[in-house]
Symmetry: C2
């Protein structure tokens, strides 16, 4: 058995973006460097956004200027527009991510424009990235449900996939932005998606554990053939509608389960657990990751 799964760490971007307290630049750098030493090969390190919209990311360029980059690791950034893409190029990012929502209501709330306008903007961003020789990944948020609109018809997601394919994207993340997907839905939708477009574009899943289904959805994605998953160290992150609820799936819990199931990730789990504890220290509170509390399964106790 040689099943390699790729994990994209998003803790320092999606995880911390809506935190109230600003995390000092050196501590962000410290966390990123620690993550770079775990064997992770892809890190969505930051986003180049309007600092008035997302104050936590105001130091994106400074963070990337200071962080010691580990060779072989792809440092990626979310960019909402051409200006952000240019900043990302200036910061020498290895890859950029453009996100739009399957839900019109959520997209307008998020970026004050229609999904069509966001798609046009995605094309412009991709041109900037292409010109710089930088990879550009697409993402479709609220792909499995929207907290405003409710169910999202699969057909709407499929139409958007088709348009990303037409724009020449070679990777697309389908995101369960507020943890509304269930395992049956994930297995069914991703099965269809990989069947129809799997030979033309790579797909990954971005999952949240808001309602406890996060790792069940990972398994459902694996069953459908998904090989790339976003996750956030220590489960940093949250749901804007429910401050107490869990956020992104925890990277170390995901890696622990994958390893137990016989998948390879290239990640040193013990080292990753240390980074999860560092994240708790930096954020100054208990975070949702479970394995850092219980210990990995193979860590036995004296009778």
């Amino acid at each position: 058995m040689n099943r390699e799964i790729s994990i994209r760490e998003v803790g320092t971007r999606d995880g911390i973006q809506s935190l109230g307290a600003f995390i000092d630049t050196p501590r962000k750098v410290e966390l990123l460097e620690a993550l770079g030493d775990t064997g992770l090969r892809r890190i969505e390190a930051t986003s180049f956004v309007n600092p008035r919209a997302v104050p936590q990311m105001a130091d994106a360029s400074e963070v990337m200027a200071h962080v010691r980059r580990r060779p072989g690791v792809s440092y990626e950034a979310l960019v909402p527009n051409v200006r952000g893409a240019q900043d990302a190029m200036a910061a020498r990012m290895d890859s950029v991510l453009v996100v739009l929502m399957a839900s019109e209501a959520f997209n307008r709330k998020n970026v004050r424009m229609s999904v069509d306008d966001s798609l046009a903007q995605s094309a412009s961003i991709k041109s900037v990235a292409d010109e710089a020789g930088v990879r550009c990944t697409g993402a479709i948020g609220t792909a499995f449900g929207c907290p405003y609109e409710g169910d999202i018809p699969e057909g709407r997601v499929f139409d958007l996939i088709e348009r990303f394919v037409d724009l020449g994207f070679d990777e697309l993340m389908l995101a369960d932005t507020t943890g509304m997907a269930n395992p049956l839905q994930i297995e069914h939708t991703l099965g269809t998606v990989l069947d129809r477009w799997g030979d033309r574009i790579a797909f990954g899943l971005h999952l949240h554990n808001t309602r406890g289904m996060g790792l069940a959805n990972v398994v459902a994605g694996l069953n459908a053939g998904v090989m790339t998953f976003d996750a956030s160290v220590a489960g940093i992150g949250g749901c804007p509608f429910a401050p107490q609820a869990a956020g992104n799936i925890s990277t170390e819990d995901t890696v622990h389960m994958l390893h137990e199931m016989g998948y390879a990730t290239g990640i040193d789990l013990e080292r990753l657990i240390e980074v999860a504890r560092l994240a708790q220290d930096i954020l100054g509170r208990e975070l949702p990751g479970q394995v850092m509390k219980a210990g990995p399964r193979w860590q036995l106790h004296a009778a």
Copy 2:
């Protein structure tokens, strides 16, 4: 689609048994009565054990004498020995549960006797129950891993199943006592078990979310054909080796996922979520259940 799943609520037994602070009898009664009004049809309400071993259960008889019992609900109790079984009969329990461990080390630690001796005791308990016309369910703990011994060979679990079948048990719970099972293991083991013994005895799963895999293991169990799951309201419970770690899978998170996947449980989820909040109030702290914090998926927000 008419897929009925049976949930055995264990919050007031497994959930609270190792809590430090004693929960007053009237509050236990209040929680049990609230659970009885949710549509749950099986409630492992308490255990009849030595109060020196488990002080939290010292008022088991008193609780059962006071609780208003809902018609159609089976009130069940764990009993460790014949004395406990007799107490359970006196308290008019509808069903008793006998537990032994697949791990010799864990069994000795738990009840200071060998697995063989526990099995002989299970037979004696079943005789007491049979004589009183009360159902007796078996349970095999640490069936998927032991925190002292590590891996538990499947063959050992299979031998124990065979012996429970020989003793005339008609239901057996396989328990992941400290949350060590992974979904591949659950699907494989339960697939084999149901294939070999499924026509002679009913099987259920008792799962813990200690390492975040709880609901993933529920789905794996469903895939193997399991139709009965233990769960604990609000996810009350814990891991004796990791006080911070999650305990039993949360009943409302499990029911939420099952309903989203198209399974029927007969449970009123909104009412169950209220009981999860009551449990938080009674225990005086935040509990691990996610859906009570995030709200069910279908609860939308204004844009």
